[in-house]
Symmetry: C2
Subunit: 303 residues, 2 copies
């Protein structure tokens, strides 16, 4: 079938390209480790052409990208759309960069909002996934990750508001560079220590800078063995996140969107917190990119 769009998911650490047919269906997918932070000397055009220059040659179709590629550290900054943020507003504000003469990449802007704490919040990439996830007005969607996002959907698929939690980054920093990691052994899943961590984090979310120290003292005191400590810390942090989010925005159910293993962790933790979960269907990123491209008139749906 004829190709109609190259959809690119370009984040901090990964670069993924999908060749889509005239119904937005996947013809072929490729990926490379060339995330925004890994591209030497900002040679983004080169990185992209290395991955899918042959698609551009063969199909001459439009290109669209979402993710950190539109950040200040990326190819070209795509200014944020303010919440409530809908797909039409984003489609009207795509940023164009030339990949090579005759081939233009359209970068989807990120979105921003001001939280109930009066502070700015931002996302880049997740907004496109949200628009592709088939969510309903009133839904709350949780996207676990380095910077975990909780997003609340409004009418017409708009993102009403959202909140970022640095859960995944904290886990990485504490285990890789911090004192907590020194007692840990990695590689073995320990569901029971994960659960214990979740319960502690949920109960002590007003006390985050203290309670993570439990992942050291539990090791020092021999309460948890080195293999159990990584899951204990993971549980504490995810518990803190869930309690923080739900204390201010009570939730009976949420939709999980993202990496399978991480979604399983959140499923377990949310279950302990008494929150029902469902999973978003696969392919939300590409479907969101397809929808933005359609809205912008870049791609045309062929019936």
């Amino acid at each position: 079938m004829k190709a109609s769009l190259i959809a690119i998911d370009w984040g901090t650490s990964n670069l993924r390209a999908s060749l889509l047919d005239a119904h937005g269906g996947l013809l072929e997918a490729r990926s490379a480790p060339g995330g925004v932070m890994a591209v030497p000397d900002r040679r983004f055009a080169e990185a992209l052409l290395a991955l899918c220059g042959d698609w551009i040659d063969a199909h001459a179709v439009p290109l669209i990208a979402s993710g950190m590629i539109g950040s200040r550290q990326g190819w070209q900054e795509a200014p944020y759309v303010a919440c409530p943020a809908g797909l039409p507003a984003a489609a009207a504000q795509l940023v164009r960069v030339e990949v090579r003469p005759g081939a233009v990449l359209h970068i989807v802007p990120g979105i921003r909002c001001i939280g109930i704490d009066g502070v700015h919040d931002v996302m880049r990439g997740e907004e496109t996934q949200l628009w592709g996830a088939g969510l309903a007005a009133g839904d709350c969607c949780v996207l676990p990750g380095t910077h975990s996002k909780w997003a609340w959907l409004g009418e017409e698929g708009k993102v009403e508001r959202f909140e970022t939690f640095m859960t995944g980054e904290f886990y990485g920093l504490l285990t890789k560079h911090g004192i907590l990691g020194r007692l840990m052994a990695f590689g073995t899943a320990r569901p029971e220590t994960f659960d214990a961590g979740v319960r502690l984090g949920l109960a002590q979310h007003g006390n985050a800078l203290h309670v993570v120290f439990a992942a050291r003292t539990a090791g020092l005191m021999g309460d948890i063995d080195p293999e159990g400590l990584p899951d204990y810390l993971s549980g504490i942090l995810i518990g803190l996140e869930i309690a923080s989010a739900t204390a201010r925005h009570p939730q009976r159910s949420v939709t999980l969107l993202g990496d399978d293993d991480l979604c399983s962790r959140y499923e377990t933790a949310l279950g302990i917190a008494g929150v029902d979960t469902r999973r978003a269907s696969d392919g939300a990123t590409t479907r969101g990119q397809w929808r933005v491209a359609l809205q912008a008139g870049l791609a045309k749906y062929m019936a």
Copy 2:
């Protein structure tokens, strides 16, 4: 005046030795960067002899040490004394290691307690400072640092209970290894952004994993310039710590003990939180070591 004790403060990153007279007064002080983590191949005796072997030769007085040197990563593990933890219990439980034939180092044990969250907490080194700080029953003493400690004193100078906050470690990890540091410029003090951070941390202590992200968005949105971001983050973290501690243990005043610059930050932040502060007098570490040595019969007070 005749020397009577060599008192050694041996932490994670520093090694300090004080030669004390027969009244516990300071005759001479030396320090080296050879903290517990910096001593190659655990050659602790060598490091100590390099710093003050001549004192041992000249005076043949007892040696006492407190701090991380008594941890599992240190010279020899000194098991923790349980709270309520008094100086006599610690003095009865000194761990002896031979520096060289005829010279023994006495390591002060750390202390442990179980918090109201049901989780173990530990300190090593700060307990000796607390015993040397001249605190009264009922006092709350805050020792800011990598692992900030809040300690509550009971009768007879016992430490009733305490709580650790990983405030300093979080600041270091986030600025050195995390995404927040990327927008920051270091070196310029910005008291007004520090205050703004403190207010945010105090108000949002139930939401720690989210609110630290403000130190990124405030930079992205141009609300705070790169020079102001380190103090903003520092303020947020200290505000989180103070609100967490005082929400569960309301405090009208605290005694600050530690590094001058850090104590000034906490003074400001505690003032914003409505908590009065006083500073412990200098020399608490050495005075605590002297008191433990007296109690253990290692040193004799000469009137």
